[in-house]
């Protein structure tokens, strides 16, 4: 039972990975540029938008996992006796 919180963190991590990979390949990767077909600025804007969206997905994963872990560590460190130095 002592591993239950870590099992929960592990489950959240894996659910987020599946959801975000799906969002990436279904919604972000197929995006096409707005405007005329030969408008290079449209492609540049699209590449930047894709990079920003990917970064956003990564940030969401980091923030959620970091938050969960920080909560877990705070709840445990108070209960753990400090080593004699």
């Amino acid at each position: 039972m002592k591993l239950l919180p870590l099992f929960l963190i592990e489950s959240v991590a894996f659910l987020l990975i599946i959801a975000e990979t799906y969002v990436f390949f279904i919604f972000v990767a197929p995006l096409t540029p707005l405007g005329l077909p030969h408008d290079l600025s449209g492609y540049t804007a699209l590449a930047l938008a894709k990079a920003a969206l990917i970064l956003g997905l990564v940030v969401v994963w980091f923030v959620v996992l970091d938050g969960l872990t920080a909560f877990y560590v705070r709840s445990k460190v108070g209960k753990t006796p400090r080593p004699a130095s």
Binding site: E10, I17, P30, L65, T80
Partner: protein, 344 residues
Amino acid sequence: MVSPLAEGALLLASLLVPFVLLLLAFPPYLRYLTRLGRVSEDVHKSPPAKVPEPAGPLLFAAVLVGEGVVALGFGSLFPAALVLGGAVAFAVGLYDDLFVLGGKAKPLLLVLAGVAFVSLVGAGVHLYGSDIYFPILGDTAPHFIIYTILVVAAFPVVTNAFNMMDAFNGEISWFTLLTSLALAVGVALRELFTQGFSPARLASALPLVGVSAAFLLYNRYPSRSFDGDSGSLMFGAMFAGLAVVGGIEVAAIIAIVPAILNSFYTLSSVRGFVERRKMSSRPTYVGEDGLLHASTAKDAPNTLVRLILLASPSTEEGLVASIVALTVVSCAFSIAISFLTWVF
């Protein structure tokens, strides 16, 4: 075309040949390492035990033989791609074992393992489809360029993740055995339920299972051998390549979630790539009671091991049992994902 009987025999051979080879070769190899003085201190023992290291060259030789059986038996080039990626990771790891690489140099050099792996695609070999299959939802449209970039980027990530799971007796061997088994089950399910899916892909996954099973006998507590970075990085590269060749990327990522979390904790708490020997504070320590404790220092880096030990101090065996339990859960999720993807 290989007959079903010959196919079964080849699958068995690709699993058993490297397994038996390692069992036979380990004792003389360990004596050889000891004679050379290539032993490392097992710092979690009191007093520290001397353990022969690195076993990586022997493990890689066994993988080579296993993949050779697959290449000759099925006339397939999948093993060549896997071995190319594995060889680069092995070489980087061996250099690190002998001379020590910097925290940033290692991941950069490991990109080359991904480049070596995809190089055969440039030569016209059909290694992978660039669409990704999800459970229930089905597959995505193919995105060859994006997919190939992600494959190359995945090698340093996965190899480092495996490397970071190599700190305690039996940790890396249990982890590789369980995750490679989950991978092999996933590829087997895909082969069973997909028309025209080459059995060579499944056969390519089996040498890693055989090698890690044999290594476990020597690496489990109390370890008689350490793999070194040459072993752990090679395991990671083989796993990454197999996930791609087997076309079960999502299930493979899920199987190694404990290693991904471990890397994430380390990277987020030390703010970047730092060689573990240069960390300012240790995440754990051996207490006077002989048990492993989590450090409560504010600057102690978070690792998966520290989080487990925060729940309660533990023996080394107990700690590895906890890591194995986390890995079993992630591998069960991975097999469930494969089942939902290929059977439904």
